[in-house]
């Protein structure tokens, strides 16, 4: 680390987590987790509470020791290094600003640790606050800032030391919805501007899909699928991913010779080797539509609209089929023809679907 204050971004470095293991007593928090972040890439770790996201991030930061595996930052094995030698910037969920220092002093703190002189560190702190849009708030204490502003200062503080990697652990969870999406975009803008390799931990799938270059979906201590947001959403690799990312209809059906028959419709399978027998087909609401031919003769896909949720350009229609309710998502113009109470017939798009066996528990969002 030099004591310079120039603002040219330096290219990010590659980060590798290799076969990380971590146990707490009987709990396996990380089970052979491997993940490589390309230089300058933003990867979101997404998963339900308790799946090990924070543990992964803390192992990378050096705040926790691994039972097994390696952490490699920019080609250097840092597995044995303590946090204060690793050059990582961290943003916590909340309340992480030092309350007795004003905003610029918080941002300058890491520079002080690096023996940057007082004038230089104040100058650089103000530059960093400017980067996150808070130049006018340099002399405020944390209690005089809103939650979103505090997180911006925390981001500026983490980046001020020009770390090799930026780690964010649910940085938006404590904020209300409106601030959350604005700050999410702001974090992404700053990350791209600085070009730093970033790991962003969240349990909110919308957030992960919106911010990341790639999303790693975690379950029980390992990564189930790693890929670009669109791929994770449209081509979930496992039933867990399908159910955790986005909304999914669980429709009972029967597997027979490589297809699954669901309420009279045969759908191709993603898992080609699935054994014959009863199964649950996981069907996205986008793959369900309302037939426009007016044929309402009794059938397995005929039912009554019980709710229409307006989402903007699209709407989500809830249809009661008697034994089950199904979500269908469609352009708002198409949904307008079927207000609540209308009798409709649904059709299923014949995209390949994933199947789950009975015992796969529904995932809480």
């Amino acid at each position: 680390m030099t004591a310079s204050v120039e603002t040219t971004p330096r290219a990010g470095v590659e980060i590798r987590l290799e076969n990380l293991q971590r146990r707490y007593g009987a709990v396996t928090a990380l089970n052979d987790l491997s993940l490589t972040l390309a230089a300058g890439e933003l990867v979101a770790l997404l998963g339900p509470s308790g799946c090990g996201k924070t543990t992964a991030l803390r192992l990378l930061a050096g705040l926790e020791e691994a039972d097994g595996g390696r952490v490699v930052i920019g080609g250097q094995d840092v597995t044995g290094l303590p946090a204060n030698k690793r050059d990582v910037g961290m943003v916590f969920q909340s309340y992480s600003l030092f309350p007795h220092m004003v905003a610029w002093e918080n941002v300058a703190f890491g520079l002080q640790m690096r023996k940057v002189g007082p004038a230089d560190r104040k100058k650089r702190a103000i530059e960093m606050l400017d980067l996150v849009g808070l130049a006018g708030f340099a002399d405020r204490y944390a209690v005089q800032l809103s939650g979103g502003q505090q997180q911006r200062v925390a981001l500026a503080r983490a980046l001020a030391i020009r770390p090799k990697v930026l780690l964010l652990d649910e940085p938006l969870s404590a904020l209300d919805a409106k601030v959350r999406s604005r700050l999410r975009d702001e974090i992404r803008r700053v990350q791209l501007e600085v070009g730093i390799t970033t790991l962003f931990v969240t349990h909110d799938q919308e957030e992960a899909l919106a911010i990341a270059d790639r999303v790693g979906v975690m379950n029980a201590g390992h990564i189930e699928q790693l890929g670009p947001p669109t791929l994770v959403y449209t081509r979930p690799a496992t039933p867990f991913v399908a159910e955790f990312v986005g909304l999914t209809n669980r429709l009972p059906g029967t597997v027979k010779r490589g297809v699954v028959e669901v309420r009279g419709t045969e759908l191709p399978l993603v898992q080609a080797d699935a054994a014959d027998g009863p199964a649950i087909a996981l069907v996205r609401p986008e793959a369900v539509s309302i037939a426009s031919d007016g044929d309402l003769a009794a059938g397995p896909l005929v039912g009554t609209v019980i709710a229409v949720a307006f989402l903007g350009a699209t709407s989500r229609v809830t249809v009661d089929l008697g034994d089950i309710t199904v979500l269908a998502q469609m352009p708002t113009s198409a949904a307008a023809a079927s207000p609540a109470g209308t009798r409709v017939r649904l059709t299923l798009r014949t995209d390949p679907v994933l199947i789950a066996r009975e015992e796969t528990a529904a995932v809480e969002h």
Binding site: A61, G62, L63, P82, A83, N84, R86, V88, G89, M90, F92, Y95, S96, F98, P99, H100, F109, G110, Q112, M113, R114, Y141, A142, V143, R157, A158, I161
Partner: protein, 284 residues
């Protein structure tokens, strides 16, 4: 509301408190101060002039030293105990046991506390007998339990628990993120205490020490029970001045001594308020 201003009735809630303060704080203080300046022949300063008597001067000095020693000792030892509690399991038995014990012991004083020490380590106690038989006669140079050294030890018995009670909320307010943020920014344990935890806890620590000082300064019953000859500290002198033959001839003298106590407590309160104001900027 129909036009006009609404009368704020918020102050009504404070009336019982203000009444209480007026009746039991301001009124007695006024009586004492007025009495200190009064004599049969009209206003006088003679009671204050009498404060220069050597035994009063030494009582004031002893009182301040006793309070300072037990405040600093209680604050340091209490802070160590508080740190041990705060870093342990927040719902653990150790924490619950220590905090409830402190709640009781901080109020423990007077004759019972004095007697507890006399029974436990006094010259007739089994402990003393055992030690003196094994060549550890801790009263070899006098029974210090019955003078100022003894008071210092006995006072610590309620000062330490009081420190735990008033300092624990501040220590609990320290967030683990601050430590971790310090580390990820390149700092170690020393920098954390020097720049983060130290400055954050210092005002609460000093403020608690001042409260301990005032607590010890005004303690009377424990000293009265332990010390039955002379009056090495001011509260005992005041008691003497109220009850003794001599004292009855100069009723304003006890009040003048009480004014000294009031002035010391007032100075401590001002220091305390200054500390509070410094921290108020970053607390709420």
């Amino acid at each position: 509301m129909m036009g006009g201003r609404r009368l704020s009735l918020d102050w009504i809630g404070a009336v019982p408190f203000l009444g209480y303060v007026a009746l039991f704080l301001f009124l007695p203080t006024a009586i004492i101060v007025a009495g200190a300046f009064a004599s049969e022949g009209g206003p006088t300063l003679v009671n204050f002039a009498n404060l220069s008597r050597p035994y009063i001067v030494s009582a004031v000095i002893n009182s301040v030293i006793l309070s300072a020693v037990t405040a600093v000792g209680g604050a340091v030892l209490g802070a160590i105990l508080t740190y041990a509690i705060a870093t342990g399991n927040p719902r653990g038995t150790f924490r619950r046991m220590v905090t409830s014990a402190c709640g009781v012991l901080a109020q423990f004083g007077g004759v019972i506390l004095a007697f507890a020490f006399i029974a436990a380590i006094g010259p007739a106690s089994a402990v003393y007998v055992y030690f003196s038989q094994h060549h550890l006669d801790y009263y070899a140079s006098g029974v210090w339990l019955y003078d100022l050294r003894g008071l210092e030890l006995v006072y610590l018995y309620f000062q330490i628990p009081l420190m735990v009670l008033i300092f624990l909320p501040a220590v609990d307010g320290i967030k683990p993120q601050w430590r971790e943020a310090t580390e990820s920014l390149g700092g170690g344990t020393w920098t954390y205490w020097r720049y983060v935890a130290g400055p954050l806890l210092a005002p609460a620590f000093l403020g608690s020490t001042l409260l301990l000082f005032a607590n010890s300064l005004s303690a009377y019953a424990t000293a009265a029970a332990l010390i039955n000859q002379g009056g090495p500290i001011l509260p005992l002198q005041i008691s003497n001045a109220i009850t003794s033959e001599v004292g009855l001839h100069e009723p304003g003298f006890a009040k003048a001594q009480a004014v000294v106590l009031i002035v010391i407590v007032a100075i401590v309160s001002v220091l305390y308020a200054v500390l509070q104001r410094r921290t108020a900027r970053w607390l709420q």
